[in-house]
Amino acid sequence: MTQILKTGKELDALREKLKKQRESVKQTITICGGTGCHGYGCQKVIDAFRQELASRKLEKEVELRVSGCHGFCERGPLALLAPSGIFYQRIDVADVPAIIEKTVMKGELIDKLLYVLEDGKKAAHEKEVPFYARQNRLVFANNQRINADSIEDYIAVGGYAALPKALAMKPEAVIDEVKKAGLRGRGGGGFPTGRKWETVRKAQPGEKRYVICNADEGDPGAYMDRSLLEGNPHSVIEGMVIGAYAIGANEGYIYVRNEYPLAVKNARIALDKAREMGLIGKNILGSGFDFDIIISRGGGAFVCGESTALMASLEGKIGEPRAKYIHTAEYGLWNKPSCLNNVETWANVPMIINNGSEWYSKIGTATSKGTKIFSVVGKIKNTGLVEVPMGVKLREIIFDMGGGIPNGKKFKAVQTGGPSGGCIPESLLDLPVDFDELTKAGSMMGSGGLIVMDENTCMVDIARYFTEFLSEESCGKCVPCREGVRHMLEILNRICKGEGKAGDVELLEEMSEAITDASLCALGGTAPNPVLSTIRYFRNEYDAHILEKRCPAGACKALINYSVIDKNCTGCTACARVCPTQAAVATDKPAQGAIKGKVNPKLKMHKIIDEKCIRCNMCFEACKYDAVQIK
């Protein structure tokens, strides 16, 4: 039976009750049920645990929790055991009986499931793992403590405590608190959240107003919003209710990407539960304040990260932005004052109300407060989500938490801010991460994707990739973005094909000025950033492509050749078997390379016929003896 909460006191009482219930359980096993771990097959592991527990009749003593993303996606599927705090990674279905048998029942560690530290020692607890050790998990903390679809869990760990507190305050005081905390929008632009709320509150007196949660995380390479909404949707909802109360809105939307089915599902469950308990809906906790939230699914358009485009799309129109000389805070959705913040921003709000602005503003740098979640992906050892206080150096994130570059390759650059951001070279890695510092370096915070690139990543190709992405994602409304970005792409394509001309780089720079200044929205306005930042820091690579017709990273297909290193070729025929165009063929000479220390003269040396080669990289991947080289 769901209890309808009529006052804050009832909520507190319920929390106490749930806490006790939670404490009564002797042991818990928390399995990460984020999308990353699902990709590794965590559902099978979960099912195995369930079965195992059932067969041993341990269901009452051991609680199995399926939580949201724990962040360390690289090592999934992950499990966290309480109260022992043991942390297991890369779990296989076959390991499940052993975990129950040894660890849960006897408290023994299973060696092979522990994380191996750099010095070869094993870490039994999360805190000992460098990836977790240096993080400061505030927003993300509850993700691994609760069942993603359980409101009771959220309440038990202190959720919805900020709500009655805020409802007891005057709306202006709530805004004031957020302003003092120095919270800035986590969606990319970094606009002060409190100021935005204030504008919305003051605009068009007497009119209806809206709060909107932007969960249309379009930045490729960023997925913290997804993880939050999947793992802890109530924190977002709580933030939205507080925000709505502060600005005087009675209706809210969560605009979520349809590509995130689990996030849609969990958010929907969370809303239904919150509504049942009276935490959203009419007369919330007896305060007389009404507020409800509807989920709207996006259709897959990067431009809908732009507030005006998102609102147009909510209105059932095509997602094209409009000029923002009149702010959406004054005339937004259906021409009413509207407050749009992204998932992470909303999730920060309950924390500020709970702990006070003074506490919050102590975290971070002078202009950027609080923590920020980054998704560290690309050519890096420990891919995953990290939450760090603002001001942490990029180097710490990439090398200390991220573990550096795999396969002994060299670090080349890190791309921040998604397609609108820029590439930051090694020389700037000691840059503290905050909104203003990144902008100064020609990039931006964006939603917090950090894509790490190694020496095999071609920076011209990266610029081309982002430009292609933006050209496809441009809504096509205004000329500089639609036509300009397309022409930029055309030039970059030429350069990557080895058809670049002297003066192309200068033309790109000239075009960038007009595209940046004259585009209608931020998509176009920041579209040249990847090109400009790569020109700024990696001009030599452009020159190599244009003047020497050479791709230094060996990535641009038209500028590279595959060949066989004779002395390494063992004649194993792996390349010939995978080659889709019969470009890798055996010669009549015997192979010189040794298999397990032995040269087999019956095996023939292979070669690659360049005219037939389509540079699909299959032979390179297939060769176990490093006999295929890219030049």
Partner: protein, 239 residues
Amino acid sequence: MSKITITIDGEKVEATAGEMLMDVCRRKGIFIPTLCDHKDLMPYGVCRICIVEWDRGDWSKMITSCNFPVKEGQVFRTNSEKVIRERKMIMEFTLARSSKTPEIIELAKILGVESSRFPTQDEGCILCGMCIRACSEVVEANAIGFAQRGSHRKISSPFYHEATDCIGCGSCSYICPTKYIEMKEDADTRTLPIWNVTFEMAKCKKCGQKIAPKKQIEFLKKRAKNLPEGWFDLCQNCR
């Protein structure tokens, strides 16, 4: 509406608060090129040719004058080097798209652009959206729209078939700045090939002259109230 004073190119100009900058410039006889602005339609701000520089003291910002509501004390430059340079680049983009359209070639010449450095196309439509806006804002028929997005964007009837809501009023053709939207008429019919529609024309009961497409008259009948019986049966001459 309160009167305000703004500065354009060093000259003090009186304006009404909230008035669009382009209108103020026009009144002062300052030439602002545009390809997508129309007085009877809501500003859309897509051709971007009308950009001017908004002087903020120690920094400046480029804004489009067609949809920029002016406020007291603002300072603008409509002919700074930056404005001229960026307008030229945008014009080059537009010219590359519509390299054979006389109206575009002429405006390009005015802005000092003789040719485009980019690969050229011969697209009659510049995607200014005037036809679509006229159809929805003025006629309220909402018969046409944009299809696709990005560089694939085009104006289109639903499903690229017959525009079922089209009433054949021809406003799209009338307003099209590049004369891309054709309207053909013969003795009994009117055709708008781009929307795949042909209409039978209603004729005046008295003189037999064509009045308008029958569908348009039906559309009007639904909206116009209190008109005399048979008002739509006669042409303007015979009414």
